[in-house]
Symmetry: C2
Subunit: 343 residues, 2 copies
Amino acid sequence: MTSPSREPVRPTLEQVAARAGVGRGTVSRVINNSPQVSTEARQRVLAAIRELGYVPNRAARALVTNRTDSVALVLCESDERLFSEPFFASLVRGVSAELADTDLQLLLALSQTGYERDRLDRHLTRQYVDGAMLVSLHGDDPLPEKLEARGVATVLGGRRPSSNQSISYVDIDNRNGARRAVEYLISQGRRCIATITGPQDMSAGVERLAGYEDALRAARITVNPNLIVAGDFTQRSGETSMRELLDRVPDIDAVFAASDLMAVGALTQLRATNRSIPGDVAVVGFDDSLLAQHANPPLTTIRQPVEAMGRRMVRTLLARIADRAAPPTAELMDTELIVRASA
Amino acid sequence: MTSPSREPVRPTLEQVAARAGVGRGTVSRVINNSPQVSTEARQRVLAAIRELGYVPNRAARALVTNRTDSVALVLCESDERLFSEPFFASLVRGVSAELADTDLQLLLALSQTGYERDRLDRHLTRQYVDGAMLVSLHGDDPLPEKLEARGVATVLGGRRPSSNQSISYVDIDNRNGARRAVEYLISQGRRCIATITGPQDMSAGVERLAGYEDALRAARITVNPNLIVAGDFTQRSGETSMRELLDRVPDIDAVFAASDLMAVGALTQLRATNRSIPGDVAVVGFDDSLLAQHANPPLTTIRQPVEAMGRRMVRTLLARIADRAAPPTAELMDTELIVRASA
DNA sequence: TTGAAAGCGTTACCAG
DNA sequence: CTGGTAACGCTTTCAA
């Protein structure tokens, strides 16, 4: 090759050993902080490592140890939601914080399209990481079981719709949170309470609807199907759903939206039809996102302990990595009602 | 099985070969789509793979091929900025889209604290990925050179402050964009134009300030140091900087903020001191984030082609992975002025 | 077209 | 405490 091809030289353990005048084994021990090395040998090895700029080869190590010292946080979500919803920011913050004490590197993997999903599947199952935290899985995704079967420790953030309980999970108590929101509306004297639901292929969507119904039933208010319309967590769906609700039942006096984004959409639509908030219609959201504070009027909503959830997911994952034989665990994190001007 | 200890069994290539009644080599060829395999042998191997649920071991493969089939997008930013600024969402979108044609898995790696930074450094240099795209590096980080030296193809998103040009980069033309913003203010008759800068250890911060000065000089307006105050891209710094500017020079008639977030902070402060916008003071931001549309009044700003930048970074990276000997490239992406109500 | 065999760079188990 | 010697699971010649 005449080209300036500066093939990067990666010194190997063997070269370090040669340079330090010791055997491979000793170098390996030094690298892995084994105490079984004489001070002198250690010095010589460290010097050689420095001089050669030696860096261990991860693949070789992984091959023999079966560990990669990294874990993945898998986000099955459109990057639109991913970055517009504070949920993910808080989650990442919690996960990072909890991982700080560890030597594990955090990798985020996104998978939005089906194609990306397949590629991710392939990568994850090939023992790419020691563990995976899967967030906002849709439908009854078989990925978690697959990963566990392949030896990748797995924890779910948010349950799956099915009651399948073979994989550990940490979830927000969505049902109770929604119930809390609707109870509040009832306590404010509202009686014709509608809801804009989340997608019904996600547990958060299903649970929040269930909580809405719980609260109504507890107050002996009949659940009216006309007051329930399906959204998909987006602002746009909040708008269109609100329009539909008003068409169906013009004298609605309150709405529980299963996400702040949808609540904001509902607000827009309510204003567009000249309804006062909360005078004519009270609105409660879910998430306590930044949007909630800045909405007009500021949104009463349910705050989720997302950061804490991230931390707990990590702890659960670490436990699972440490002991693959332990039975799966389930945990629910409690929510909080944040009262602002919209209800 | 009564024992809960279900140690996951990973069948090896060898077992597949045995089951199919062929040699290791043949199985390997089938997996790698080599045409040099008889149809019959291929069928038998594929059947064996299916029956055993075989998945290749990545570490073993990486060890011999020296490839990992994955690339990292490294984001050296607080998760606050990461998720509040649409910049990163767009970037990820562009990168993902461009990677869709490839078999490369995208991994996001965050590094905010110094500790995380070290861990990331260790991971990246250990041949964890085939290539890395580094975004919003602060100061004169030596990481890129280190990676290239270790054989990891590297591309920068955004230049570094120094003129060091040993690593390929793709950048927004921040200087021209800022200049464009300020020229617009001048064209609107503004003369006492202040600026709230970005951090001066980031090229975006430095360049946008330079563009501000360019425009002023071109219009023969003296650059007044009292009209320049340093922010850090956060909304809070926008507020405090605006307060400081008004203290220093009460009759400011325009402000160019180096980010939308800071511009929004400035708006808040201007309203707090009963100034009309743009009547008394015109405000221009930078980014064209979602915030810009929703600000009160909607923000005139500079739009960056972030998604396109992401795509280009990927193309540059792929080229570099394919040919390590090629000289580093440099590219600037052009910006666009978006006129709204604030100026 | 195919099987056998030689590594790839580490770790881990052995005697010494 | 240490050096030698097996693995680890795969790709890739090299003959056959």
